[in-house]
């Protein structure tokens, strides 16, 4: 499973390159928020590894990234689905409040920013996944186009499959064996697998978007 670490970077860079290719024409707001999230992900990935290799604690970096990522992705979901679901802003504000509550609780319980806020990730991830699934459903049932022809569909599917799986992944890990480093390592390898799937689907959606030239 160690090969996944290399693939992680490849698919993340591929997604970012696909975004850069698609950016040539006028874009919808969700596209810019997704670009911000991809740029944050790239920065966090390389900076986190650089810090880790030097033995410098990097949990604070991942916590910061998690905060930025959740806000950016909630905005992506909002702009993708606001025309399809009227109540979406309320759902997303509710999701953001719950995520922030879990995130702050994690950090205040530990008393430091240097502990990974895994409960925040579970709660926030579940809410992003559910919101993205709602927009996907609305797109399939109310949208004017075949969903598989919609770049947004593949990006939402990436969010749904990754974030709805992080809930059982880190949720069960937290409950069952938070103290075992061996299990922690294997769990992160599973997370790498989901990560590859997520950014693979995102890259596919962005390539689709680049070919379509930004038309909704």
């Amino acid at each position: 499973m160690h090969f996944l670490a290399a693939y992680k970077e490849i698919v993340l860079v591929a997604a970012f390159v696909a975004w850069c290719v698609a950016v040539r024409t006028k874009r919808k707001p969700w596209f810019w928020w997704l670009g911000a999230q991809l740029a944050l992900a790239l920065a966090a990935e390389y900076a986190g590894r650089w810090l880790g290799e030097r033995g410098i604690p990097n949990q604070w970096l991942y916590n910061g990234y998690m905060l930025g990522e959740h806000i950016a992705l909630l905005m992506v979901v909002f702009y993708m689905g606001r025309e399809l679901i009227r109540a979406l802003p309320y759902v997303l504000v509710f999701a953001l409040v719950l995520f922030l509550a879990a995130f702050i609780r994690d950090l205040t319980a530990a008393g430091t920013f240097g502990v990974f806020a895994s409960n925040g990730l579970v709660v926030g991830g579940f809410l992003i996944g559910t919101s993205a699934a709602l927009v996907m459903l609305a797109m399939a049932f109310r949208g004017p186009l075949r969903v598989t022809a919609e770049p947004r569909f593949w990006i939402l599917l990436a969010l749904v499959s990754y974030f709805l799986c992080t809930a059982p992944l880190f949720g069960l890990y937290n409950r069952l064996s938070a103290e075992s480093p061996e299990i922690g390592l294997k769990i992160y390898q599973l997370n790498d697998l989901l990560f590859v799937m997520r950014y693979g689907l995102t890259a596919f959606g962005l390539i689709h978007e680049a070919r379509r030239g930004g038309h909704e």
Binding site: M136, A140, I187, L190, L194
Partner: protein
């Protein structure tokens, strides 16, 4: 729970979640495809219905015009012919200039009425081509004497079905009548090109108009609508002092 059990539980839970997401996505895509197929079928049915309605409207208009033409020919023209005979008899008894002028006016009226009745007959198109009809119309315009009408046949002969010929001829008549009434032109040039694409160009050397103004656009859109019924595209180019040119061109996609 030992480490292995914990790991297996997590792996099974994640795989189960992925399986649920995959199944739901497949169901969603299948449902969406079915919905799109249904929409496409509805759109196709609507398109077919609109085509049928347009055809029925066309047939109704043709039927009305044919009946009108028959009435003009069988009744009004016969009555005028009786009047013409009476006028001829009167003229033989009393050869007065006023009577002669009245007889000439009657002759001209009968001739115009017969031509009009003939033109309204849609079945005519099974016996003559659009080119023949346009040439005959040009000759009639020249006979009136105020405007010269040149017919230029370019490329292949115009071969169109009866429905298309009828509507295109009506559009042609409308454009020509507008030119005769409003343009002040003394020359009309009619270019017939069998294409492909089949093209009919009507130009006059009149005073022209600003084609971007509402009046021009309104006329253009009415003619465009009628041309669209038969798969033609109409465009008009004109400017004050520069005459006017109408181009009726068969669209590559047809009606």
């Amino acid at each position: 729970m030992n480490e292995h059990d914990v790991l297996m539980t997590v792996v099974v839970a994640v795989c189960a979640m992925l399986l649920v997401i995959a199944l739901l996505t497949i169901a969603l895509v299948a449902n969406n495809n079915r919905r799109m197929r249904h929409r496409a079928e509805l759109a196709e049915a609507e398109r077919v219905r609109e085509t049928e309605v347009a055809r029925a409207e066309r047939e109704a208009v043709q039927h009305t015009l044919r009946e009108l033409g028959r009435e003009l020919h069988d009744n009004v023209a016969q009555l005028l012919t009786v009047a013409q005979l009476g006028a001829n008899n009167l003229l033989e008894e009393r050869p007065e200039p006023r009577l002669a002028a009245m007889r000439d006016a009657l002759d001209q009226g009968v001739e115009e009425l017969r031509r009009l009745a003939h033109g309204l007959d849609a079945d005519l198109w099974s016996r003559r081509s659009l080119t023949d009809a346009i040439v005959a119309e040009a000759e009639r315009i020249e006979r009136v004497g105020r405007v010269r009408a040149h017919v230029v046949k370019a490329g292949a002969p115009l071969v169109l079905d009866a429905d298309t010929s009828t509507i295109l001829f009506r559009v042609f008549q409308e454009v020509v009548n507008n030119a005769l009434k409003h343009s002040g032109a003394d020359t009309l040039t009619l270019v017939l090109d069998g294409g492909p694409p089949a093209t009919l160009t009507i130009s006059d050397n009149g005073r022209g108009f600003d084609a971007t103004r509402e009046r021009g656009q309104g006329g253009l859109s009415a003619i465009r609508r009628r041309c669209a019924l038969i798969g033609f595209e109409a465009s008009c180019s004109s400017a004050p002092g520069n005459g006017c040119t109408w181009t009726l061109i068969q669209s590559p996609h047809g009606a």
